[in-house]
Amino acid sequence: MLEQERKPVEIESNLSREEKLEWLMKEYGDQVARLAFTYLKQKQLSEDIAQEVFIKCYENLDSFRNESSYKTWLYRITVNLCKDKLRSWSFRHIILTEFFTKTKGTNKSPEMELVGLEHKQLIAEKILSLPVKYREVIILYYYEEMSYNQISTLLDLRLQTIKSRLHRARLLLKKSLEGGKING
């Protein structure tokens, strides 16, 4: 997290629309699906949204003017589609049944401290339990490693709003983890 590499990925401008789409799906597909999951918390829905994102992206490729990076553009489409979905009647009336039971071991190595799996699972679930407006800033800032300015552009919110939401989100997360063992 402290060692960030925020270099935008370049895309060759001489590619055809189809080639660009293929490239974007390969480059950003997983990230888009994962971002969608942090909003919707359902695997199938996140995949559907990610597909929709790339369909929209293809249809609007000609109108993309390089004012932002492709990644920011794709993320903006993703966030908007997810929020539409969250507001939709169908989404609000289905019972969310997916619960996170899968965890994965990590290897300890000389350069990596071992952290308990169950603890990571707990933190991840607490993050996903935050209200959307706090969850999204936590995800964008810490998980996507975006700057305040990038998040402000993406969510179309004032810089100060982003900062105070992030602060509030951290406080909420801390509170929800109280009583749990924090081993950093």
Partner: protein, 523 residues
């Protein structure tokens, strides 16, 4: 606590986002949808008759054939998984574990000549080369901040037939750095459940066990193309492995291979055959790649390395790293390794006598209703530039601000809050090793402050009052954690310093470097 935020990428990718990806099938769905839409517009808009690019058609045929191939691949993979599931179902219907020991094929040592590429390919795909393994090794690590850790790892696991494993990790810590000497953790899993037992507080946790589907063989190129910063978060790119932690370093050495061996020019095969605990190993010796040393914070600790790889399985039986003077700095030294031996399935059932589920010790804290009037002026953490901007603002606006100047402490977060006209400062410092944290806040004695768990822990033993750098301090031990809480007064201003994983006396020692901000020379 703050460490959580630095590790969010890893935490999320290893848990809730582990299985979320945009696979070939999703990509194909996009292609198909677009193709159908294009077809529609072809009928509606005659004008496009000649403009419909052949590439779309080509894309469709390519896509379709790719789809079929892909589907076939998926089918064959699904068959594999279904096969696995069938196996699991049979076991699920028969919850009583069969006492018969599973028989694995006898392991034969390999003496064939191997190329560098052969070794890497095996290291990255060990899961294909053995059915069961049992062993014990010691792992010693020297970190860049001179702290050390030693672990003794004992394990038994089965990848086929009776799926399950047992692992006992005894970690001996440098008490000065970690605050405690030893912890024993045990992990036990079978095809239904995963248990983890913690010796310190005699607690256990249990969760559902989910086996991973078989993934395709990983090539050296694929493993070396993973960016260093992603090695630990993109686990999906490596082969599957069971839910074990410490023994994976030896049995499934995917990350360490990707990191240490990525520069093929920098290492050589030192010996084709060397006997080690009854196994025939190939010995590799190499120099660390500069980029790796930089990224993985190995400067000063790791200049060269040596690997002993079991030729028939690819298991990393032993490794050593050395500094510039050739001094041993970290190692994995095996005591024994048995491959494809029968393992009693009872090994995969935990003994929970004397262990209990963790009790939620959360206390109800009364929140001052006036706290709603506290506003955040600015806040930043984790990213140095952002944090320093907030610190500059605090220095400018808060004349009563104090900061730590100790060389081993670095600022992790800075917060600026206000209650009406009262300004409040929050600073968090971390040690180089990042396991110890110091929380600071400074505010006017009449100001309402936020209720935060870090500053509201139950206090124990109290120190004599003392004065340092103009502040009169009272110091308390924290009862349920290793740490201290110091409350200081200077005129109308109050200072709180809370340490995590640092003893009362050590925290008092650190307070010597807690000085007024205006003493600092601005960078």
């Amino acid at each position: 606590m703050d460490d959580i935020f630095k590790k969010i990428v890893q935490t999320m990718n290893e848990t809730v986002l582990k299985d979320i990806n945009f696979n070939e099938k999703n990509q194909e769905n996009v292609r198909q949808t677009l193709h159908k839409r294009n077809k529609k517009s072809f009928h509606v808009k005659r004008k496009l008759n000649y403009l419909l690019p052949t590439v779309i058609t080509l894309l469709f045929f390519l896509g379709t054939s790719y789809f079929i191939i892909n589907e076939l691949k998926i089918l064959s993979r699904e068959e594999k998984i279904t096969g696995l599931n069938k196996n699991n179902e049979a076991i699920l219907q028969e919850p009583k574990i069969d006492p018969h020991l599973s028989i694995s094929p006898e392991q034969k040592e390999s003496y064939e000549e191997m190329t560098k590429k052969d070794v890497v390919a095996k290291l990255l795909n060990t899961v294909d080369y053995f059915h069961t393994a049992a062993g014990k090794f010691e792992e010693y690590s020297l970190f860049y901040d001179d702290s050390v850790s030693t672990s003794i790892i004992e394990y038994k696991l089965s990848l086929k037939n009776e799926i399950g494993g047992y692992e006992k990790v005894t970690t001996l810590f440098d008490e000065k750095v970690m605050g405690f000497k030893e912890s024993i953790q045990e992990y036990i899993y079978n095809n239904e459940k995963l248990w983890s037992k913690e010796s310190l507080n005699k607690t256990y946790q249990v969760q559902d066990y989910q086996s991973e589907p078989t993934r395709k063989v990983v090539t050296p190129e694929e493993a070396f193309n993973i960016k260093l910063k992603d090695v630990y978060k993109e686990n999906i790119k490596f082969r599957e492995r069971p839910h074990i932690t410490a023994s994976g370093t030896s049995l499934f050495p995917y990350e360490i291979t990707s990191i240490y061996l990525r520069n093929m020019e920098h290492w050589e095969i030192e010996k084709q055959n060397e006997e080690l605990l009854g196994h025939n190993t190939i010995v590799l010796f190499g120099k660390m790649d500069g980029q790796v040393v930089e990224r993985m914070k190995m400067k000063g600790t790791t200049d060269t390395f040596r690997f002993w790889v079991d030729k028939d399985t690819g298991i990393l039986m032993k490794y050593e790293t050395y500094d510039k003077d050739g001094k041993l700095t970290s190692y994995l030294h095996p005591e024994r390794l048995d491959v494809n031996i029968p393992i009693d399935p009872q090994t995969f059932v935990p003994n929970l006598d004397g262990y209990h589920l963790p009790i939620n010790t959360r206390k109800k804290v009364n929140i001052d209703p006036r706290e709603v009037d506290i506003e955040v002026v600015d806040y930043a953490d984790a990213i140095k530039e952002d944090t320093e901007d907030v610190l500059d603002l605090l220095r400018k606006d808060i004349p009563f601000l104090y900061e730590f100047t100790h060389s081993k402490l670095s600022l992790f977060s800075a917060g600026y809050e206000k209650y009406k006209a009262y300004k409040q400062a929050y600073l968090t410092y971390i040690f180089e090793n990042e396991s110890q944290v110091i929380y600071v806040r400074a505010y006017h004695k009449d100001s309402v402050i936020r209720t935060l768990s870090d500053f509201n822990r139950e206090k124990g033993e109290q120190l004599e009052k003392f004065t340092l750098n103009g502040i009169e301090w009272s110091g308390y031990e924290i009862t349920d954690l290793l740490g201290a809480h110091f409350i200081g007064m200077k005129g109308d201003y109050k200072y709180e310093v809370v340490s995590q994983d640092i003893s009362l006396q050590d925290t008092k020692e650190l307070l010597k470097s807690f000085k007024p901000s205006n003493d600092h020379k601005k960078q």
